[in-house]
């Protein structure tokens, strides 16, 4: 049963990854080159893998780890979006997102620890 689930997940991941790599890019994502559209789809796929851990984490800290990783992934997403569209303010969104995610995760870990915030 465990081996069955392993093979199923492996085939699903390989299928979606090869679809992103080899299928033609949708026309809404062709800004400058096809490569950047494929990179955006690839990062979205990685973010969905993180969301799987958010949905099915057995404990609360697992979900917190997945949310932290998701925040750092979104910063890279904003950077690629800023290259692809040529608009500079996307990187500002990335900086703000990194700061916000760090503060949120520190507060969340203090809450998990079960102490007061001013310690």
């Amino acid at each position: 049963m465990k081996r069955m689930r392993y093979i199923l997940g492996l085939t699903a991941i390989l299928f979606i990854a090869s679809a992103i790599l080899f299928l033609p890019v949708p026309s809404a994502l062709k800004w400058q080159s096809e490569f950047l559209g494929r990179a955006l789809l690839w990062l979205l796929f990685a973010a969905f893998l993180c969301l799987y851990r958010v949905l099915r984490g057995p404990t609360a800290p697992d979900r917190a780890v997945a949310i932290d990783m998701l925040g750092i992934l979104i910063v890279g997403f904003c950077a690629i979006l800023s290259i692809a569209t040529g608009r500079d303010w996307y990187i500002d969104i990335g900086i703000a997102w990194a700061l916000q995610s760090f503060i949120g995760i520190m507060a969340l870990s203090k809450y998990l620890e079960g102490k007061d915030f001013d310690e």
Binding site: G9, D68, I72, S109
Partner: protein, 109 residues
């Protein structure tokens, strides 16, 4: 030349991001998940931001990307360590195949 180097750095970053997320799904408990995913995703996003810096050079966007990279390098290990400590103090047990656990002896003192 600059564009090629930037594309190479972005590809390295994307691959590391993907492997980090695979580790986040695949590993058995929270500590090994942190071990895999925090380092991989930090390095991957720093690669993407450094690729953006190589693309743009010393313009406003490039310097902002460099600053964002520095900020992520500084803060990601801090948040990962805080999460591991919070998880241990809140009572999440390590995986049963764990060989050594020195932090529990440290807490008992």
């Amino acid at each position: 030349m600059n564009e090629t180097l930037g594309y190479i750095l972005i590809v390295i970053g994307l691959v590391f991001n993907f492997f980090g997320c695979i580790g986040l799904i695949r590993f058995p408990d929270i500590y090994s998940r942190l071990q895999a995913s925090a380092k991989c995703v930090t390095l991957g996003t720093c690669g993407i931001l450094f690729g953006l810096f190589i693309f743009k050079g010393f313009t406003a966007v490039g310097v902002k990307a460099l600053l964002c990279m520095l900020f992520i390098i500084l803060t990601a290990p801090v948040s990962a360590h805080a999460l591991a400590r919070g998880a241990y103090r809140s009572g999440v047990k390590p995986w049963e195949g764990t060989i050594i656990d020195e932090y529990s002896e440290d807490i008992k003192k």
